[in-house]
Structure formats: structure tokens, C-alpha cells
């Protein structure tokens, strides 16, 4: 289970605890934890020394210490803001209760709290946006990939289109998407904000291709004999797809999904900057426009957050890939 979820570094600890030969486990431990820690320390050292030497219009480039400080401030701000929200609701409830006591038929208004978004709200917005965009991309790309992998004709027809659309930058899509969304998505009481939809669709447009291509390749490279077994059994098209095609191309499909999610996450930040979707991208952009002495430090917090979250998303996909693949021994990196 630990191995499945990628927590391989935990294994020697468990083995050590269960009394297996300690020397070997310690060596493993050094390789898995010691070496990366060492690299991290060297990196932080270089950063600290290097940053001190660059002076910008916003002051010195922040080193690790300054960035850490900004991270704590952002966390504090989150809690302060939450506290304000709780107090706001308390005040409102008290006010409403008074009104009701005076006149039981009085109209009660419950207003939502409109304080500013904290850093964690922005992270959640980003995650939600990328998830929606990636989800839409997947439900288009996987079926299309399967169908075009099964039919050479369809694949040859689609291939040029895929190759042309694949390398298009999100920044090129964004203006088109923005304008189309503004024109098409018109409603009195919109469920989602336009900026959210624009960002999500841009993510979709860019993360569609790796899944589509990998699925098609995975499906078209299925062992012919396995398909022939299906033909001998006279399985229907649907049964062939669900019982033979999908299980055997799962590893390739997940490889595609992992690349797609990685690209989607990268694209999202750019899309949010331009579309002003209140996520991490907008945070970076706002800090850049703000230009206070704290801005660079805060942007770096965001940069690191983006990196760590991207890594975690990839880990989640990897775990799912291992879980769904039939070949548990395959080395997947």
C-alpha cells in the first residue's frame, strides 16, 4: 500500500521498526531521505547567498527566510479573515434576532460575507478550476482516443488536427475563449463566474491533447491476438471496448492523464492571470501590480505553492495509475 501511493521512503522505516537488518534499512533510508535532504539544504544555501546579491526596484530579492516569513503572514491573514467572517455572522444573527423580537413578521435579510479572499481560498479556487477543466478534457479525450485508436481511418483523419492544436499556447486561446464565453454564457444569475469558465475552458483546450494521443496510441497498440480472442467470442463493440480495450490501455491512458494534468496546472496559472479568476494566478498578478516590498516574497510563496501542489497532483495520478493498472510490477516514474 505504501509502495502504491508513492511513499517508498516510508518502507525502510517500517522495516526498521519491524526488526529487519538495520544496516541495509539505514542505507536505504539515507538514499531515500538523506540525499534529497542534502540537495534541499544546498539549494536553500545557494538561494540565500544568491538572492542577497540581486537588488531590484522592490528591494532585495527575498531569500528563504523572508519567503518563510511571508508564508506565515499569509497563513495568519487567513485565520484573521476567518475570524472576521465568524464575527460578521454573529453580528448579523444578533441583529436579526432583535428585529424578530420587535416584529415577528419583519423581513429577515441574510447577507453573505464579502470579505476579501485569503490565500487558501485562492488555492482552493485554483484547484477547483483545474479539476473542472481537466475533467472536461478527460471526458472528451478518453472516448475520442479510444474510438480513433480503434479505427485507423478516424485516426488518420484526426491526426493533423491534433498535431496542429496541440502546440498552441494557452495565452493564444485565452482571448478567443474570453470573447466566446462573454457572448455565449449570458445569464441573469450565473452559477459560475465568467473568469472561472474562461480559465477552465482554457485548461481543457490545452490538456486535451496528451490524453487523446496517449489513449489513441495505447488502444491502437493492443496485442492483435487479444482483439482476435474478442472476435472469436463474438463480443459486441461495447463489450470489446470495456472488457478488452480499456483494461489493456489503462497504463497509456493514465500516462496521458498525468501529462494532461501537469500541463493543465501550468496553463491554469497563466489563464488565471489574464482572466482574473481569483486563484493563484491572480494572486501572483495582483502582487506584481501591487509592487510593495513584500510582493516578491509573496510571489515566491505562490511559486513554491504551485510547485508543491503540482507535485502532489502528479502523485495522486501516479497512485491511481498504479491502482488501476493490471501490471503492478511495472516501474512507473
Amino acid at each position: 500500500m505504501l509502495e502504491l501511493s508513492g511513499f517508498t521512503w516510508f518502507i525502510p522505516l517500517v522495516k526498521l521498526a519491524t526488526g529487519e537488518p538495520p544496516l541495509q534499512q539505514l542505507q536505504d533510508l539515507f538514499k531515500m531521505i538523506g540525499l534529497p535532504m542534502l540537495a534541499m539544504i544546498i539549494f536553500l544555501g545557494l538561494w540565500h547567498v544568491g538572492a542577497a546579491k540581486v537588488v531590484t526596484s522592490l528591494g532585495q530579492v527575498p531569500g528563504p527566510v523572508e519567503v518563510w516569513k511571508q508564508a506565515s503572514i499569509l497563513i495568519d491573514e487567513h485565520y484573521i479573515e476567518r475570524e472576521k467572517e465568524v464575527k460578521f455572522h454573529e453580528r448579523q444573527d444578533v441583529r436579526n434576532a432583535k428585529k424578530l423580537a420587535k416584529d415577528p413578521d419583519a423581513e429577515i435579510k441574510k447577507r453573505p460575507y464579502t470579505g476579501r479572499q485569503t490565500y487558501f481560498d485562492q488555492i482552493l479556487t485554483s484547484l477547483w478550476t483545474v479539476f473542472v477543466g481537466f475533467f472536461i478534457a478527460s471526458i472528451i479525450a478518453i472516448p475520442l482516443g479510444i474510438v480513433s485508436g480503434l479505427s485507423n481511418t478516424l485516426y488518420s483523419a484526426l491526426n493533423p488536427l491534433i498535431q496542429i492544436f496541440k502546440p498552441i499556447s494557452p495565452l493564444a486561446w485565452l482571448p478567443i475563449v474570453t470573447i466566446v464565453v462573454s457572448a455565449v454564457y449570458v445569464s441573469e444569475d450565473p452559477m459560475f463566474s465568467k473568469s472561472f469558465i474562461t480559465s477552465a475552458i482554457t485548461v481543457t483546450l490545452c490538456s486535451l491533447w496528451p490524453t487523446l494521443i496517449n489513449t489513441a496510441v495505447g488502444v491502437s497498440s493492443i496485442d492483435r491476438d487479444l482483439i482476435n480472442v474478442g472476435r472469436v467470442l463474438r463480443l459486441s463493440y461495447a463489450t470489446t471496448v470495456f472488457k478488452i480495450v480499456i483494461p489493456s490501455s489503462i497504463p497509456m491512458i493514465f500516462t496521458g492523464l498525468r501529462i494532461s494534468l501537469g500541463i493543465g496546472w501550468m496553463v491554469l496559472i497563466a489563464a488565471e492571470m489574464l482572466a482574473q479568476n481569483p486563484g493563484l494566478g491572480k494572486f501572483v498578478w495582483d502582487q506584481f501590480q501591487n509592487g510593495s516590498s513584500e510582493s516578491l516574497g509573496r510571489i515566491m510563496v505562490a511559486v513554491l505553492t504551485i510547485g508543491i501542489l503540482g507535485f502532489m497532483l502528479d502523485r495522486i495520478m501516479l497512485t491511481m495509475q498504479k491502482f488501476f493498472s493490471y501490471d503492478k510490477n511495472a516501474v512507473i516514474r
Partner: protein, 263 residues
């Protein structure tokens, strides 16, 4: 009298950039019910193509295949195929690999319990009950092929087609599987068509050996009736005059009369 399986004047051409390539020319063969027939020939002579046409995976350009008075031109479980590389679904256990065949062939004809019993019976037939819950990756080559045979037998085919079923196995494993196959054959008396390039295998197992000429436009060169008594035992046959006579017949055909020009 009408024969059980009739391969009637079958020719096949494959389109290539340099015009059609005639792989088989006028192949005619009649097989009786319960007969074990081997097709032997040099690699590339189109023996697998013959089997693929009978199996319905390829369409003959001319002629056709008639099974029990009906023309067959698409694949079906009445002509189950044992592939050279076992072709088990790697994500299913041995049991499930047989199950997927049984479920699709006997849907609505057998109850759940009957299906379960039938699957287990077929796995027992190939002596694999001990490993029925293992994935193909956990089985040896011979064991995988046993399950492949069990899966084909479980379809209750009218003709069992085997495409070099033991070709990928080492000599000892191959001998074990041949013995198992003879045992099963004595029991079920299936009609079997087997492709092979192994002379001993052909003589040991077959009632009839079909020797094919070299391609292109390959056809049947000679047919050898093997009249050795059953049950056959490889040890006793090793020095048997009759056995060695059949053996040398095939070898002479392959290496003298129809030797391959380029090795």
C-alpha cells in the same frame, strides 16, 4: 458423404504496393469429425493463413470453408483458436480468462452454477486447478498455454484450431503439453486442426499430416495418413519402425522435395 469440415478450393490474395500477393492457391481439404489434423510446412508458407481463414479472421479471395454444411466467413466460438502466444488477458486471473469465454458463449444457456462448474471442469482438464486464481504474469509459459487451451475447450468448439500452440515453449514443457493434449483428445475426441513446424509433434499427435509447399501461392503438397495406434506413448514410439517411417516421410518432403531456397 459430406465431410464435417470442408476447405473448398481456397485461395487468398493480399494487396501490396506491387500488386496483389497470392499467399494460398487452391487449397482443398476435407476433415472428418474427431480427426486430428496437423498442417506442417516451412515458415512463411501460409499455414497460419489457412488456419486464419478457417477461423474466419481472414476472408478467402476464392473458395470457402464449409463447416457441417454451412459456410463460415466470420470468427465464432464454434471454431475456437489457441494462439501461439497464449493471448490471455493479463489483467484477468486464469479462472476469469476462462470465465469471459464461458460467459459469452453460454449466456442464457447455462445457469451461474453450471457455468462455474463448467469453468472449473475445463481448468481441471488441463491440470491447472491449483493456480486458477493467479494472474498470467505469475504463470510459466506452459501453464499459460494450458489455460489458453482450457479457454478454447470451454467454448465447446466444433473445430479446435491451434496455431503453433507449443511453438514458444521449451522442449520438455512442450512434451508435457503434448501428452496432456493427447489425454484430452482421447477423452473428448475433438476435431482439431493444428499448425506446427515440429515433425515429431505432427507425427505423434495427428491422424493426418498436411504438408504444404512453399509460398508464394502455396498449396497442399502431400497428405500423410498416420495410422499409429492410440494411445501413443513417446517412449515406445522412439524406436518404433512405423513411427520413424512417418517421420522420415515428412522430413523428406520438407527438406528434399520442398526445401526452402533461402534459409
Amino acid at each position: 458423404m459430406e465431410s464435417y469440415l470442408n476447405i473448398d478450393h481456397v485461395s487468398i490474395e493480399f494487396p501490396t504496393p506491387n500488386g496483389p500477393f497470392k499467399a494460398l492457391d487452391n487449397v482443398s481439404l476435407k476433415i472428418d469429425k474427431g480427426e486430428f489434423v496437423s498442417i506442417i510446412g516451412h515458415s512463411g508458407c501460409g499455414k497460419s493463413t489457412v488456419m486464419n481463414i478457417v477461423g474466419g479472421l481472414y476472408q478467402a479471395t476464392e473458395g470457402g470453408v464449409i463447416l457441417q454444411g454451412k459456410e463460415v466467413n466470420e470468427p465464432g466460438p464454434d471454431r475456437a483458436i489457441v494462439f501461439q502466444n497464449h493471448s490471455l488477458f493479463p489483467w484477468l486471473t486464469a479462472y476469469e480468462n476462462v470465465e469471459i469465454a464461458v460467459k459469452s458463449v453460454f449466456k442464457g444457456k447455462k445457469s451461474k452454477q453450471e457455468m462455474k462448474a463448467w469453468i472449473e471442469h475445463n481448468i481441471e482438464l488441463v491440470h491447472m486447478s491449483h493456480a486458477k486464481d493467479k494472474l498470467p504474469a505469475e504463470l510459466s509459459g506452459g501453464m499459460k498455454q494450458r489455460i489458453g487451451i482450457a479457454r478454447a475447450l470451454a467454448m465447446e468448439p466444433k473445430v479446435l484450431l491451434m496455431d503453433e500452440p507449443f511453438g514458444a515453449l521449451d522442449a520438455l514443457t512442450r512434451a508435457h503439453l503434448q501428452d496432456s493434449l493427447m489425454e484430452i483428445q482421447a477423452d473428448l475426441n475433438n476435431t482439431v486442426m493444428m499448425i506446427t513446424h515440429d515433425v515429431d509433434e505432427a507425427v505423434l499427435l495427428s491422424d493426418k499430416i498436411i504438408m504444404m509447399t512453399n509460398g508464394p501461392a502455396a498449396t497442399i503438397g502431400e497428405i500423410l495418413d498416420v495410422k499409429l495406434e492410440r494411445p501413443r506413448h513417446r517412449l515406445q514410439l522412439a524406436n518404433d519402425v512405423e513411427y520413424n517411417h512417418y517421420r522420415s516421410e515428412v522430413i523428406h518432403f520438407l527438406h528434399e522435395r520442398h526445401a526452402r531456397k533461402v534459409a
